[in-house]
Amino acid sequence: MSNTQQARSAADPVSTVPGAYEVDGNPVGSIRVLDGAISTIVKRTVLGVKGVARLSGSTLIDEFADLVRSKRMQDRSIQIEHRGAGVAVTIAINPYYGFKFPALIAEIQPKIVDAVLKMTGITVSSVNVEIRGIEELPEESDSEQDNAKESE
């Protein structure tokens, strides 16, 4: 199994970032960030934006993936492409009905750029957003039920 982990670190797409600890002016090693870590930052940032229901894909599969700590769902919905020293991010999301897409995307893009830069030091050159579906707001159905009860 130890070879598996070694193989992962060698095979997975990775970004090398500056800032390693130095001894006598020389860095003692490298600092590398796997794409999986960038994907997690992107995922959490996107899901923190009001109006985003979830990453695109099957909810059932998503929940099961969370249970087994699998990143398959995340990997399908978030793509990291290396461009020079930076990365380009493509995400597929399902927003809630009622939120205007241009405003939503305009909020998502800088948040991803800021979060990735702040945590990893990696520059995000572009953020492409695909809207693959749309979801009903759960709060809306609750308020509708409340309104219905009040009218009764």
């Binding site: 982990q5 970032v17 500056p18 800032g19 090693g29 490298s30």
Partner: protein, 142 residues
């Protein structure tokens, strides 16, 4: 019966010593303990929990790769960093702590310490506070 040779110089070839890989892994683990932003070593947490139960250190073998050559040692450390932290600061702190620990305790020449951040997640404390915030937000909405 050999007599006491305490005053005689020890031959150079007998003064060499070897530090086993598992010792370097243990030193690495101890040096990293408590570093802000370091959550855990990479690998399945379920497997890690089981390893804890049976007192196994095998999981560290997967996440700390040691390469020794004579008196030189190189390490590759795979970690999960805290979400929201600066990975560069976390990695540099790990490199500093591990470098000093190994040099101090073994006298070996540390050639390189590569830190690989494989993922990011909340610290346990942050998770509980996040949960509280979510509940609070829910109360406000209602």
């Amino acid at each position: 019966m050999a007599k006491d040779t305490g005053t005689q110089p020890v031959p150079a070839e007998t003064s060499a010593y070897k530090v086993h890989e598992s010792v370097i892994i243990s030193l690495t683990r101890k040096a990293m303990n408590g570093i802000p932003g370091f959550i855990r070593f990479s690998g399945s947490s379920i497997v890690s929990d089981l390893a804890d139960l049976v007192g196994s250190r095998h999981r560290f073998d997967k996440s700390v790769v040691v390469t020794e050559s004579g008196n030189d040692v190189s390490l590759e450390i795979l970690i999960v960093a805290a979400y929201g932290s600066s990975f560069i600061e976390v990695a540099a702190a790990i490199q500093k702590a591990v470098y000093q620990q190994i040099v101090d305790f073994t006298g070996m020449n540390v050639k390189s310490i590569d830190v690989v951040i494989t993922d990011t997640e909340d610290a346990a404390e942050e998770k509980s506070s996040d949960d509280e915030e979510e509940v609070f937000e829910g109360e406000v909405i209602q």
